[in-house]
């Protein structure tokens, strides 16, 4: 295992007693300081994988090493060094915010003034001061998520595992959480592994991404490189009237046959950088006396990537 690898997953498999083969021999590594995402629809095997990493589920086959500790044979060391926030913010509904944070600080063996110091630090980091004496069920969903993160971070874990951290949050809270996770990465150097079915989240947050479908990783790379595998940007031109045969031939001559597709109401031109070349492309098209009603630059999305590797649209599955 390279010194830089915080997580190494090798030939990981999970078969439930019900017969469900949830994870089918996946492999990946997560480097120090990276935000690594697992993108896929519900039932793809993301949560099962994360739960095996977090010592919550037994492993059927394969190995997981976290910070060089084997998850099965050295689970207590793994638990000392990770923070885990489950899909649902699972919190003690019988305590206040401050009591819960203090309890988690004590669980990790801190005593005396260190307890107060860490409680204070958590309240400040997650901006929870105003709720410190409130009972947990009285908090909003977004605040509960923040508290869940706070208790997962009290011991300064080297690895933070987040299962669908923003599911159920409104866009504003979601954006706040993204900012916070980026801050944790840059300021505290925490390595983060998260699962999500939001493509935007994967795109904005993750340094690297594994696309997971039916228990298998079908593609893995940076979001940018994954999108590059789809091909060029497309510029879509809406038409006032259908293209003539001559105009189609002229377009194919100008941009190459493989880069043009057309129907009655619009045609598209494939280019390397849609935004950069839009004006130049438009000028050429106007010179061809094509009457354009509107234009749109279409960049490959992670949904296109998902479609390419699985034959399904993630947007529809989610």
């Amino acid at each position: 295992m390279s010194e830089n690898n915080i997580v190494v997953v090798k030939d990981l498999e999970k078969k439930y007693k019900s017969g469900t083969h949830a994870v089918k021999g996946i492999n990946f590594e997560v480097k120090k300081g990276e935000i690594f995402g697992m993108l896929g629809p519900n039932g793809a095997g993301k949560t099962t994988t994360l739960q095996m990493m977090g010592t919550l589920l037994n492993i059927t086959n394969g190995k997981i090493k976290i910070l060089e500790y084997d998850v099965e044979s050295d689970s207590s060391n793994v638990r000392e060094n990770i923070g885990f926030a489950l899909q649902e913010a699972g919190l003690d509904s019988l305590s206040t915010v401050k009591e819960l944070i203090a309890f988690h600080v004590k669980l990790f063996g801190f005593r005396g003034v260190e307890i107060d110091r860490r409680v204070e630090q958590s309240l400040s980091l997650l901006d929870l001061h105003q709720y410190s004496d409130q009972m947990i069920p009285e908090l909003s969903g977004g605040t509960q998520r923040r508290l869940d993160l706070a208790v997962s971070l009290v011991h300064d874990p080297k690895l933070l595992i987040l299962d669908e951290p923003t599911t159920g949050l409104d866009p504003a809270h979601r954006s706040d959480l993204w900012t916070l996770l980026k801050k944790l990465k840059t300021e505290k150097g925490i390595t983060i592994v998260l699962s999500t079915h939001y493509m935007e989240e994967a795109d904005v947050l993750c340094d690297r991404l594994a696309i997971i479908d039916s228990g298998e990783i079908v593609a893995m790379d940076t979001p940018q490189k994954l999108k590059k595998t789809i091909g060029k940007d497309r510029i879509e031109f809406k038409l006032f009237e259908s293209l003539s045969e001559e105009q189609i031939i002229a377009l194919k001559d100008e941009f190459g046959e493989e880069n043009i597709s057309a129907n009655d109401s619009f045609f598209t031109v494939r280019v390397d950088d849609g935004e950069e070349t839009l004006l130049d492309t438009l000028k050429i098209i106007i010179q061809m006396e094509i009457k354009v009603k509107g234009t749109k630059v279409l960049r490959p999305s992670l949904d296109d990537v998902y479609l390419k590797y699985t034959g399904k649209r993630l947007e529809e599955l989610s």
Partner: protein, 266 residues
């Protein structure tokens, strides 16, 4: 598994009870009400010819039964706080911390044992105060403080070891408070089908034959022996049988519990 982790969880569990007053009240008030009603309703049972306990007032005869009933009531409710953790997902959250599965379960049993022991001391105090009200004498039972501690330990061990293990297994299996509460009548009937309220010679013949198969009967005999007669030879025999019974049943129920819990994470 560190002891300090178990201790931290144990203290947290004890603090939880202050926010579950209904659980504490329900498992204490019901046995007290039953004690006060039964001791008045069936007061004349002591005068029935052939009653071997005729020289004791009836409220003293049923005190052991009420102690056992409190142990059972309290143990059935022992899953309440656990169910809160299971259903909010907090139990799983804790499993990914040093409070893994075993420390959580051990700390839960320890805190339930503590709570139940305190409740049992409280119900014994009620019976002593009731005795003072009736007889005008404030006195401890024959076996003294040591006897009361033994009674509490026996009843709490039976409650947590046998009943507690079963309800915790059921809580893991169903995650439903209603399902857990539904088992209470079974234990209630088991206490009734013993010499808890009526001495064996006054029971119908079929029940006299059946009580030998009722584990709670052995516990009641031991507790009654200590409470009414002190540490006599026959009481010590009953205590030995009761302890054996608790050990065997706890082994069975904890095996069931262990299997249920480990299956839930597989």
């Amino acid at each position: 598994m560190k002891f300090s982790t178990i201790l931290t969880l144990y203290i947290r569990n004890l603090k939880q009870y202050k926010r579950l007053p209904a659980v504490l009240a329900f498992s204490f008030i019901v046995p007290v009400i039953q004690y006060l009603i039964f001791s008045n309703l069936f007061n004349s049972l002591s005068d029935v010819p052939g009653n071997p306990y005729g020289n004791y007032p009836y409220y003293m005869y049923i005190t052991p039964a009420i102690i056992i009933l409190t142990a059972i009531f309290g143990s059935v409710n022992s899953s309440a706080a656990l169910l809160v953790d299971l259903n909010t997902g907090y139990f799983d959250k804790l499993r990914a911390t040093p409070a893994s599965l075993a420390p959580q379960v051990i700390a839960r049993f320890m805190s339930e044992f503590t709570r139940l022991s305190l409740q049992l001391f409280l119900i014994i105090t009620v019976s002593i105060l009731y005795h003072k009200r009736i007889s005008g004498v404030l006195e401890l039972p024959e076996a003294g403080i040591l006897g009361l501690i033994t009674i509490v330990l026996l009843a709490a061990s039976f409650g947590i070891g046998v009943v507690g293990n079963l309800v915790v297994a059921l809580a893991f299996k169903t995650k439903s408070e209603q399902a857990v509460q539904a088992v209470f009548p079974l234990f209630f009937v088991a206490v009734f089908m013993s010499t808890a309220y009526v001495p064996d010679v006054l029971l119908p013949d079929w029940l006299q034959s059946a009580i030998v198969y009722n584990p709670s009967e052995y516990l009641i005999r031991a507790v009654r022996g200590i409470f009414l007669e002190g540490f006599t030879d026959s009481t010590m025999d009953s205590v030995t049988i009761a302890v054996s019974c608790i050990i065997v049943l706890t082994t069975i129920t904890s095996t069931i519990n262990y299997r249920t819990i480990t299956r839930s994470i597989d």
